[in-house]
Symmetry: C2
Subunit: 425 residues, 2 copies
């Protein structure tokens, strides 16, 4: 079932915006069982929109289009579609009423220009937009059903899930199933190595299973794609096959696999803390608050996160956290001794069950022969446990060093909760 | 001068990766004076690559292509180009030697598959790749020069800047000039309103000037695009025109305009602090460390940033920062009283010249009738100055509330440095 994605907007062709909509739609269409053969992105140019639409309508079953449905003069999609189909544009009374009602609900007058958003090609079926003013619509172009949606991601996603997915789902009989396994801790090459014989074996013993890898630094995601087009019940057979292989993958990656497609590592760590009923405190230097930020991205993090002493300057380490000045002087701010003192003081002042401290050199300057850029010292303090510390050397630029440091600090929490020994990562 | 971008890769059509290369190339081609008429993204499918290339070669002057130059069997670009041109693929001896040398330098044996990366369409001109194994190449297709580069962003950007930009620059006589003005503090509608008569007046008095807006939450960027194709010296005339209008734009937005295309707000704030020689400390609750993270993203931030007391839990506000428990009990954690105490304690313990505190309800839960989600209290403490505080109500989800809170806290620093009175934003 071939499908195509058409994105409309000069802000996209000029590179002022990244085309996140096309990625999102590509993923959703693939999940729904379509083969996405092309993404086309064209400027706000009626003739080019018209020609591209007619071209994509040859040989695809579904075209999903975004953009150009706004109220301004450079929003040309409806007119271009009408031109392609040889029909006039007509004002849709129901859509106009919906737009007017939307403004009424906001207690604002409707700008005259917005009436244009109710102008649709004759014969189009309206796709109601419950979260914005521009309605979507659907028409037939060549061999394809073509769905038009606004470019605002939230509105597009809403209309896709509400109207488009249900309409096209029945076109693509589900013959495959994909499971995502998110990992942190090993580089892609190590993850792939651990699965190599499974990958090969899978191809022999489980025809229709392929493993894919996607690196979203510092994480590696493994995708198990199972396909069973010839089974009696292809959807169930594919799901069963994917589930079986995914179980094997998870067991081989048990040290680093932490969740599925919609999980995040900080959420996973929060879940572990919640499970054991521990409160966490941090002491951050080179990360500058990043670890606390990551931990508090998900709501509800006050269940397990107390706070972080971000002591970026040396004077702050002494004044704000009580790290002895002699320690800073004798060992330097980037040392396991200072990291241990940071963690212990954070534990004591916060009253937490566990405290993690990081101090390092994120670069690009500040490195030395003995402590090059990328050197990071970690310490973990727990009540009634000896404080542990270690030093890592991370490659990459400032952003990578900081992100890897933050994830590694979170991993220390998982190790403490699970009593897993620390590993190089 | 019409140009097109062709991206090749099933990982793109399936939405496994966002097409950042197309955005980057769209921006660079626009800067170089080209009109980017289309981005096409196709799967690893030789026939589709061939057909798309021939289609884009009709009516464009430049095609820039990325992807499909790797060593594996699904890297089909060179073969598809050869097919499109009706020529054979031939192994390029110099490119093979370069690949072999690259492996030698890494002291690793060259995998046999990599030799394939030296297979190029007969007649192609090689574009040397100094940062990776796959060389690029250039051929003529229809009316266009078509440049092929690897999909790895770093390699692509390197080859583009080293080989492609110098080759195509002379094709597009520079007749326009664009200036970016970054702002934080007003919503897009207010920014546009302040420039409305200039925008209209510009169209009348300065033909060839258009203003554009781009929202990168919570910032608004204004783009002044001047075009002077009929001037004796179009490039200079366009630059002069853009500079004149940009000066006017900046003066109308002087409260909120802070920099140009490559500036960031945290860097701007850091620059202000550096100028007056102040050290900054923070006390963060609902932002969880985000403000410290933003301030320490740029290197060199230790010149002006001491640290942040991230006191997310109420107990942390008391224990880690010394906020009186009575204050927390009587006024609640989200109150100007607590914010003031946080700022004053951060100032005192850190020894900074200025301290900013934030405490608020980022949501989605935790709101009440009197303090709904989005309520954020700010306080600014300075030595020998009365502590100031204010309360804001920010719309949007947790992420937006946190980001707006962080930027508003940074804006407080600018106001203190510049003695600009606080405004609603």
């Amino acid at each position: 079932m071939p499908a195509a994605i058409l994105s409309i907007g000069t802000e996209l062709t000029r590179g002022e915006l990244t085309n996140g909509n096309a990625r999102w739609l590509g993923e959703r269409l693939t999940e729904l069982g379509f083969e996405v053969v092309e993404h086309a992105t064209v400027a706000d140019d009626a003739e080019r929109i018209r020609a591209t639409l007619l071209r994509l309508g040859q040989g695809t079953d579904v075209i999903v289009c975004t953009g150009g449905l706004g109220p301004t003069t450079d929003d040309l999609t409806a007119a271009a579609v009408a031109e392609a189909l040889g029909v006039p544009v007509e004002r849709d009374a129901a859509s106009l009423a919906a737009i007017e009602n939307r403004y009424k609900a906001l207690a604002r007058p409707m700008p005259a220009a917005n009436a244009k958003q109710a102008d649709l090609p004759r014969g189009a079926t309206v796709l109601e937009n419950a979260v914005g003013t521009a309605p979507g619509f659907v028409v037939s172009v060549g061999t394809a059903r073509a769905f038009f949606m606004p470019g605002v991601p939230m509105e597009m996603q809403h209309i896709f899930e509400t109207h488009v997915a249900p309409a096209i789902e029945r076109l693509a009989p589900r013959t495959s199933h994909q499971i995502h396994i998110r990992t942190f801790g090993w580089p892609e090459s190590v993850v792939a190595e651990r699965l190599r014989d499974l990958d090969l074996g899978g191809s022999l013993h489980s025809p229709g299973v392929t493993l894919g890898y996607r690196v979203t630094f510092p994480e590696v995601e493994v995708k198990v794609l199972a396909s069973a087009p010839l089974a009696d019940n292809p959807a169930d057979a594919a799901r069963e096959l994917a589930t079986r292989v995914a179980t094997d993958v998870r067991s081989r990656l048990s040290d680093v696999a932490y969740g599925g497609k919609h999980d995040t590592y900080p959420q996973y760590i929060g879940g572990l803390l919640r499970k054991v009923g521990w409160k966490l405190a941090l002491a951050e230097s080179c990360t500058g608050g990043l670890i606390g930020k990551l931990l508090t991205d998900p709501p509800g993090s006050s269940d397990y996160f107390l706070g972080s002493a971000v002591v970026y300057a040396n004077t702050a380490k002494a004044r704000m956290l009580g790290v002895p000045e002699a320690l800073l002087r004798d060992h330097g701010a980037v040392s396991e001794e200072v990291a241990r003192s940071m963690a212990e003081n954070a534990l004591r002042t916060s009253g937490a069950e566990i405290a993690v401290a990081v101090t390092g050199i994120a670069g690009p300057t500040g490195g030395s022969k003995h402590k090059p850029v990328g050197t990071v010292c970690f310490a973990v303090a727990q009540r009634n446990e000896p404080t542990r510390s270690r030093t890592e050397l991370f490659p990459g630029d400032r952003e990578r060093v900081r992100l890897r440091t933050a994830y590694s600090a979170l991993r220390s929490v998982a190790e403490a909760v699970n009593h897993v020994p620390a590993k190089q990562f």
